[in-house]
Symmetry: D2
Subunit: 316 residues, 4 copies
């Protein structure tokens, strides 16, 4: 039921400049608008993949949007043993608007959620970046003088004795300019179809280097607009009523197609426009495989807000 009649399973139909289709799903001729952010990248290793993930999840929680979270944060990628200590690892990204806030978030999130996590160690995820924070050096003082310097896998690190045994922290954590707010919308006839498509998109993006999807499970249920119609005095961002299926009959200029009853947004932060483009493409390709997906769109502010534009058609 979910498969096309023809065997050209993944064909891009780009007719005279207007309608692009992927696996029979319309790709709207629009673009995602994104903006600059500062990104620190940390490699967390653990005794097993599970324990590396436990630390990474705690450290990146409460990190969906800088609107009201102290940072945007997420898991970038799981790696096998291409790590300084040869153990399983997880790359995470932590994003804020400035380097000062970023340094504070690194200290708090690594100090409270990685140093405290069973078997975890922390490594510089951007050792060649110009900007380097001495977060590991600062954390070594937890050792109360019993810590020592160590060189592990060629990295300058500290060995901090604690109850579980030693915690290993690399001296520096690198950061760089990055991009926040890459995105696309998955529009489907049914909420569960939109959700399965979003899950597929996130699973695929999780294997791509350089990007994170910071929202819960990688998915945004509540795509918003800037400002407010009715509560303009105190609300800076409110629901995007033109993309709200349950009230499409009440909104004259709704953007919700007649056959669409649920929309999920995938928001992507990343180290480069190339990485974000790659993740947007892979995510969309994964999403359109789910039966019930009707259209792919993207969120922008007419180009007035962010300097980065990701045109959906140009991804393919």
């Amino acid at each position: 039921m979910s498969l096309p009649e023809k065997d050209e399973y993944f064909q891009v139909h780009q007719s005279e400049g207007y309608t692009m289709e992927l696996n029979g799903v319309e790709i709207e001729d629009t673009f995602a608008e994104a903006f600059p952010i500062k990104i620190a990248r940390v490699l967390i290793t653990g005794a097993t993949k599970k324990w590396a993930l436990v630390a990474a999840q705690e450290a990146t929680g409460f990190g969906t949007s800088v609107i009201m979270c102290p940072a945007e944060a997420g898991i970038e990628k799981i790696v096998k043993n291409e790590t300084p200590d040869g153990r399983p690892g997880v790359y995470i990204q932590i994003c804020t608007f400035g380097f000062k806030a970023l340094e504070e978030q690194l200290l708090k999130r690594l100090g409270q959620c990685v140093l405290t996590a069973p078997t975890a160690a922390m490594w510089n995820g951007l050792p060649k970046a110009e900007k380097q924070f001495d977060t590991g050096f600062k954390l070594k003082f937890f050792g109360d003088g019993f810590e020592s310097e160590a060189s592990i896998g060629g990295r300058k690190a500290y060995r901090i004795p604690m109850m579980q045994g030693d915690f290993i922290a690399e001296h520096s954590i690198g950061a760089q300019d990055g991009i926040a707010g890459g995105n696309f919308f998955i529009m489907a006839d049914n909420q569960m179809a939109a959700l399965a498509a979003a899950e597929n998109a996130v699973d695929t993006i999780a294997q791509i280097e350089g990007t994170i999807t910071p929202f819960p499970g990688g998915i945004v249920a509540s795509g918003s607009k800037v400002g407010s119609i009715n509560y303009a005095k105190f609300m800076k961002a409110t629901t995007n009523e033109k993309y709200s299926p349950s009230i499409k009959d009440r909104i004259k200029d709704t953007n919700v197609p007649a056959d669409v009853n649920a929309i999920y947004e995938i928001v992507i932060n990343g180290l480069s426009t190339e990485a974000i483009s790659k993740s947007m493409r892979a995510g969309i390709e994964a999403a359109v495989k789910i039966p019930g997906v009707k259209k792919i769109s993207a969120g922008n502010y007419g180009g007035t807000l962010g300097p980065y534009k990701f045109n959906l058609k140009e991804l393919f």
Copy 2:
């Protein structure tokens, strides 16, 4: 190899006032010291158990210790369908030292991590508490005038149209006085044995009503002492060197037994001393089943800090 010779598998040996054993593991004659905190309790439901958990994990992340996290937070318990909307649910607790900080954390964590999460809805986890925050009422303004009031499962709630469909938020979230810092130590001959025992303890506590284990995976790798020997001018909490196995040979008055090479601490917050006692007991009972566990202890400050004392021996 892991089982006792005798068939009285789970026997409590309490000899002349000094040595208690559980499954052959010494329970030290000591106590956990805990202190008061404010706790809000939220019930998050989702389309499936998975999606309720996704929202709960994001909302409780970056929440291990109020030392440098904005709150202590964790998942209390998964429930089947005894929920206002009859869907699978997860109770979470969010803890801060005062109600003002708690209200702010509720607004931020529920607004950014639950309202944004696929299929999630939020409900009052303490509807009978005296203290009630109108967090759901505040979040309804995200609906920008398109929201409406609803009564669901007897709860006063708001239906907020958004991209995925509607988000349901109960008007109020209750809070009460609670207890933070209930704890016990698991001491084992090997780090992996201590860790498996800690994992077992956390899994068991996860089924008990009223408590959370806020650290990563429910486990603390880095039990600390108040203050510092060598960095007293700027460090308020540092490693507990007397319980640090890797330096036990250098610490004259070490508390690490000769056969112990790793210690994990389980920290428990909860709604009542009864709930914490129950979780400490169940967690210890689960931990001592793992081969290699040598001793159970607990952390205190000589009774000078917290008003709550949980004597290990009295738990059984």
Copy 3:
């Protein structure tokens, strides 16, 4: 703890004898037809919940239908530490048409998939049943004379030395008459909606004592009819074309409603009619919560095959 006084979400509307609705979803006035089977019940414990589950999954795999699998098998329920050795446990059921085949399956599945599994132990899940197999006694010979008898948690067991340490096998495994083929159909407008509803149903049934859902993930994608129209000479069971949405336009007397595009069946085996009724009810209640579910039905052969009939209306 804060359950609703009135349940608006989950109301049963039973009008004049014909149409029953649950949460707005039609419950068809039909019945599931089931038949007798023999069931052995085994309790598998492990060092942690994870390892108990690993053994249970291996032991119950390749066990969906006795049509071509050597047994029907599944996980019944996870238990905390109400087990003979006080460790986390998982109850499984293994089902065949006769006791002889059942004994063979027990020996093979426990000997190859539990005895070999890390940290697993095996216990009698029906110690009071009249029918007892000495599977543990037979497995003890793997110990090659180095095994010994042990009494653990009041159970007569064997301690078999092996590479990981000792394997503990209880002497006997009990079996009894049971019921196979309890079932219901979940009909939805979209495959992903039907699937999420099925997942919810299975998650709920997994917490009910006495039943299993033996198909992959607990779900049947391929509900069948007895016999064949076009391949009657060699096919004993074929697709149920009257319930096949993708060809509903070609089947004159289709049972697929116009708004239904996917149907999943949940098949339930269990120790008693009461347990199956309870699981059918809980599963249906969980399924109808998913948006897009249109109708609940059930599979029968007009009452000609099985002696057990589960009338959907009578469940509520």
Copy 4:
């Protein structure tokens, strides 16, 4: 991206021909002995990674050892969307001693555990192999005449209408000569350390193409010897008492070192000696990272049984 120039953690010390160490762990100068088997390879796709895995797990269950299981079977590798239908996929291997038994197992396991699984499709995992079974063709008759032929992703397949929608089965499933019984032993001072090391080894091998680890969770708890000392008349394989830690004091010529208290074996089947060598190497490298691991060995029968020998030293 930031890998160490020199690897201090993971150094191979090969001194004068006798003692090899990896990360401080002795690699015994011995070899694994393996034997020929027939292997069929199937690619299972699903709507999401989860559902592909659900089908794969059911289809490969009850498949640890051909001693008493109808086949040895396991999950080889998860793939993103390099699949004929562009959906997430899982490669599995099914192994028996002859092609006839293999064909029967394919028909039963794919027909009962994949055709029945939600959203699953089945594809030829060895399309270039000389030996091809028409398992998909045989399964198409389940469609009872309503099935149709389809070409998807260049593969000849059948579209079988059923309750969930259509099941897609590729016409042929390929098979080839393979190798069973590649293996190594992980010896540790504590059962939980040996188990974490085994878990790490299996996680790493799961990312390598061409091999499976068919035992529960990929791990063997009960490494055996051929024949029996005390029950020779009826037992063909019994516990390997020379490698049984709990009785090492009673066995004069025990092979269990004084500091070892638990041993897990990883058994590897695969499509080629190269794939098995690669998996053995990666698995051992992952295992020796866990604190408490003391020695790596391997199982053989003195070279009398299997024609394939994997010398541990030659892997590095």
